[in-house]
């Protein structure tokens, strides 16, 4: 959330060879006070220090030369500064909230922070989680769970997923086929420097359809350093023998600041404790380029391009033809088509997904306290799904979808010491096409959509109170063309959506903060809800869209409490209650549909009134300086108010506990961190069998352990980690994993992480 901005004032005094004094002070810019316990490290000199209680530091025996200086402070990302030291030098370093300066993705203003209904994964946590996918990383945040289809995972925030949340890839709402349960977000987490979940008024900026929240993948900016730096990361996973290599190169030169990130991943079949999960391999080839340039004091420019390329095999035994097959698969101990032999091969069924995102942004600083952004982005998403088919047709995709999306935004922000105002106009247009030639009736029709929208956000800060207000309007237009038997049917849909959000934060005293947020959000139905038609292979049921669907109207209240005592003890509790009028869901029909493949259960999209409530708790206690315990606990309840039945796919109650030791290691090793984690997932007892088809699985425990450290190798830092997931190789099935019908979840995985920074 923070970024270190440094203004170096170099005061030259006289100095001698290797006897130069480098001193300075570190300040928090907006609070204007000195920062205690900030660490400073002169990389080339292997000298480090910590600021005293007035923010001062001092190195007395520095040789003349050029130095990379690394500054870290609690809650801030590690940042690098490059300095040429020839004489005794004194510098002042200001740490500032970074969003205002260059990066638009962060929600808070420079002078003020929004009401804090958000949480984040920082750079260190990202490094420790490398090898995991975006959804798995995000699920470390309290209140976020996973909905899976084996190795394919999507995030759920407070019971909302797919169409009801937004995922931002560098400030741009990801435009993929997010409606599908087995469609994972097309984002490479190695590009991220920070991942956030926001639920407050500030999320209003990112589209009106967020009933759950927004996940932001923020790539950050290249550091202010004239040399080419970078890192190479390698991750090995023992389960599936996965190898992942990712490399970053970055530089800030006179012409521009740039960064390039490339990732390659190859994993074979996963394994449960007892058998191989045949055909569950995965490949990923991603690349991202990022440049930014300050043209003059008023104008800066940045550009971003990323390509995500992914092939995901789907468990062969989960490919079934009808409900009899589903029941047979469920009864079986070991899935059909299970092979003894491990393989990296990807065979049918599998998916092949590509996602391009290109973005350019111009920032124009009007004056010290106001600026304008113009952003344009282009996205292209191609999704091909290959199935087991007759007559050599497995070579052709059974589903072949493409989305082109253009997006433009004009954004204005004004801020001063106690209030800020933001406004924006956004236009997006997309073209969704089924590429012909699949030989299968398409699940969703072709359509184009236009979505102009506008928003205003106002933040105000009083002595102990912060206030946020947001308002948004969206117009959504769909032009749908679909083939019905042998004719083409055209349908136009128009929706007007309004979102309103108000938040208040009250700082009762420095260690006790109370916040409350209320939001009123319209969500218009998406294409799958309006038009999906046909057999959903994986669950052997027929899904029927409903073109008469109306908007959902969500009314959500969040009440949060944060307690922070003596830097050693913290509690963060958030409770929420959301009422959704016209909640869109798949309702089971009474009758089965008879086909030549047998009788199938039919589910139709219908609307009801729903209520979802939950509590997310997070607590940390630092028992000793180097020993910490933490707990994360979430419960959620969702009800269909019309028939008083439980809603499907609500995460069951879950708790995660962790103990962490930090210790000093000998020699060139830096401090190590050793942790043990335990997760318990309760059985979901609140379900409606008619909608589930098969009752939820048992509760389970999972244990994990990890050790992370780093050492200096040839004057460079090498980070390494060893972690073991599912430590005791437990056999379990998860309620929110679609593969639970077919197989156990993967067994133990030992992961090795290496990262070499240069």
């Amino acid at each position: 959330m923070f970024f270190v901005l440094f203004y170096a004032f170099v005061n030259a005094i006289q100095g001698q060879e290797c006897n130069i004094e480098l001193s300075g002070t570190i300040f928090d810019k907006h609070e204007n006070n000195a920062l205690e316990y900030a660490t400073i490290y002169l990389e080339e000199a292997f000298q480090g220090g910590v600021t005293d209680e007035v923010g001062n530091f001092n190195f007395s025996k520095v040789c003349p030369g050029n130095y990379h200086i690394i500054i870290t402070h609690l809650g801030c990302e590690t940042q690098r500064l490059y300095l040429s030291i020839k004489k005794d030098t004194s510098i002042s370093i200001f740490m500032e909230h970074h969003d205002n300066v260059l990066d638009e993705v962060i929600i808070s203003t420079s002078a003020l922070e929004s009401v804090k209904i958000n949480a984040q994964i920082n750079k260190e946590q990202l490094r420790e989680s490398s090898g995991k996918n975006l959804a798995e990383i995000t699920s470390q945040i309290s209140g976020v769970s996973l909905i899976k289809s084996g190795g394919i995972a999507k995030p759920i925030i407070d019971g909302m997923y797919g169409n009801r949340i937004s995922i931002l890839n560098n400030g741009i709402v990801q435009s993929g086929q997010q409606w599908g349960l087995d469609h994972a977000p097309e984002i490479d987490p190695f590009v991220a420097q920070n991942i956030q979940v926001i639920k407050g008024a500030s999320s209003i900026r990112y589209g009106g359809n967020n009933l759950g929240g927004v996940i932001m993948m923020n790539p950050g900016l290249p550091p202010q350093d004239p040399h080419i730096h970078g890192s190479i990361s390698y991750v090995f996973d023992s389960n599936g023998y996965g190898n992942t290599v990712s490399s970053t190169l970055e530089q800030s030169n006179k012409f521009l600041n740039w960064r390039v990130i490339g990732t390659y991943k190859k994993r074979g079949d996963l394994k449960t404790p007892d058998y191989n999960l045949t055909n569950t391999g995965n490949r990923e080839q991603n690349i991202a380029f990022q440049i930014n340039k300050t043209i003059n004091s008023a104008l800066s420019f940045d550009a971003f391009y990323s390509l995500f390329n992914n092939q995901n095999a789907l468990l062969r035994g989960a490919h079934i033809g009808n409900i009899t097959d589903l029941e047979n698969a469920f009864i079986r101990e070991i899935p059909f088509f299970t092979e003894e032999q491990f393989t990296y091969n990807i065979a049918v069924p599998y998916q092949n997904v590509q996602h391009h995102l290109a973005k350019i942004k111009l920032k124009y600083i009007v004056s010290d306290n106001q600026y304008l952004n113009f952003t344009y982005s282009f996205q292209l998403n191609n999704r091909e799904e290959y199935d087991v088919r007759r007559g050599g047709r497995s070579e052709k995709p059974a589903l072949d979808l493409s989305i082109f999306q253009h997006y433009a935004e004009i954004y204005y922000k004004f801020f001063n010491n106690n209030y800020s105002f933001e406004a924006g106009i956004q236009l997006s247009a997309s073209d969704n096409t089924n590429i012909p030639g699949t030989g299968v009736l398409p699940l969703i029709p072709n359509y184009i959509s236009h979505n102009p929208g506008a928003f205003v956000i106002y933040n105000r800060e009083f002595d102990k109170v912060k206030l946020d207000l947001g308002f948004r309007y969206d117009f959504k237009y769909f032009n749908v063309l679909r083939a019905v038997q042998t004719t083409i049917e055209k349908n136009i849909h128009k929706f007007q959506n309004i979102s309103m959000d108000a938040g208040i934060e009250y700082k009762i005293n420095p260690s006790l903060v109370l916040n409350y947020n209320t939001a009123f959000v319209f969500r218009s139905p998406e294409i799958n809800e309006l038009y999906s038609m046909g057999l959903h292979q994986g669950v052997s049921s027929i899904e029927v869209g409903n073109k008469d669907l109306d908007q959902e109207i969500g009314f959500k209240n969040i009440l949060g409490l944060q307690i922070q005592a003596a830097d050693r003890f913290s509690i963060d509790v958030s409770t929420y209650l959301q009422n959704i009028k016209n909640y869109i869901y798949l309702a089971p029909d009474k009758d089965y549909r008879l086909t030549i493949r047998g009788a199938f259960p039919v589910f139709q999209y219908k609307q009801t009134d729903a209520q979802i409530a939950g509590i997310d708790f997070m607590g940390k206690y630092q028992i000793l300086e180097n020993f910490e315990i933490s707990t994360k606990y979430s419960i959620i309840r969702g009800k269909n108010k019309e028939n008083n039945l439980w809603l499907v796919r609500m995460p069951s109650d879950n708790i995660y506990n962790r103990i962490t030791f930090e210790g000093k290691a000998p020699g060139k090793f830096k401090d190590y961190k050793l942790s043990f984690g335990h997760q318990y997932i309760w059985k979901q007892n609140r379900f409606n069998l008619e909608e589930e088809l098969i009752a939820p699985p048992k509760a389970y425990h999972l244990f994990e352990t990890a050790i992370y450290s780093s050492f200096i190798w040839k004057e460079k830092e090498l980070n390494f980690g060893l972690s073991i997931e599912n430590l005791f190789n437990s056999t379990y099935r998860d309620y929110l994993d679609r593969l639970r019908f077919f197989s156990d979840a993967p067994g133990r995985n030992m992961r090795i992480n290496l990262k070499y920074n240069f």
Binding site: H319, R390, A429, N479, I488, I596
Partner: protein, 184 residues
């Protein structure tokens, strides 16, 4: 300000290019609309026909299922015909199945109490049964149904699968039809 005016114009130019293309009507290549079963009694009396027909595929018009009455203690030569009658000319899916005989197998499951047995008359290159041609034996007078299942990519080497036992077969079901049957 000028920059953005240009940008806005550009944007509209981009979006104006979006036009909703009329979708091609996808040719449902793997559709099976019809299963015809011809039963020729060995005692050379008249043929008996069983039929499942869902002319427009899944949804739309309801399928038609025609069962029959078999003569007690009679053996029939049974021939299965699979068609896609939504196409013009009608496609013979049976040929496709025949060509991929190693990847397909039909199974016949009489309901409890029906006095009935069967055997395969056609086999794939590995000498494993296929089932487009079978011998059906109607026993004593009884009543019930016969389920015909076509599995794609079954494991024909699994226990009892080549004897016609479906339990361990696996694969995907391409056809699963129940015909009401009376034996008298």
């Amino acid at each position: 300000m000028k920059n953005w005016q240009v940008a806005i114009i550009l944007f509209f130019l981009f979006t104006a290019c979006l036009k909703n293309e009329i979708p091609e009507i996808e040719n449902q290549e793997e559709l099976i609309t019809t299963l015809n079963i011809t039963l020729t009694p060995e005692n050379s009396s008249e043929n008996i026909y069983l039929k499942f027909q869902d002319i427009d595929g899944e949804g739309g018009i309801n399928p038609v299922i025609l069962g029959e009455t078999l003569s007690a203690n009679t053996t029939y030569i049974c021939t299965l015909t699979l068609l896609d009658e939504s196409k013009n000319p009608v496609e013979d899916i049976g040929l496709e199945i025949q060509n991929e005989s190693e990847e397909h197998q039909f199974f016949v499951q009489p309901s409890q109490g029906l006095s009935f047995s069967y055997e395969y008359l056609d086999f794939d290159a590995n000498n494993k049964p296929l089932g487009l041609n079978m011998k059906w034996k109607a026993g004593a007078s009884s009543q019930g149904s016969i389920r015909i299942t076509l599995r794609h990519e079954p494991n024909k080497n699994a226990a009892n699968v080549s004897e016609g036992e479906i339990t361990n077969a696996g694969g995907e079901t391409d056809i699963e039809v129940d015909f009401p049957i009376i034996i008298q």
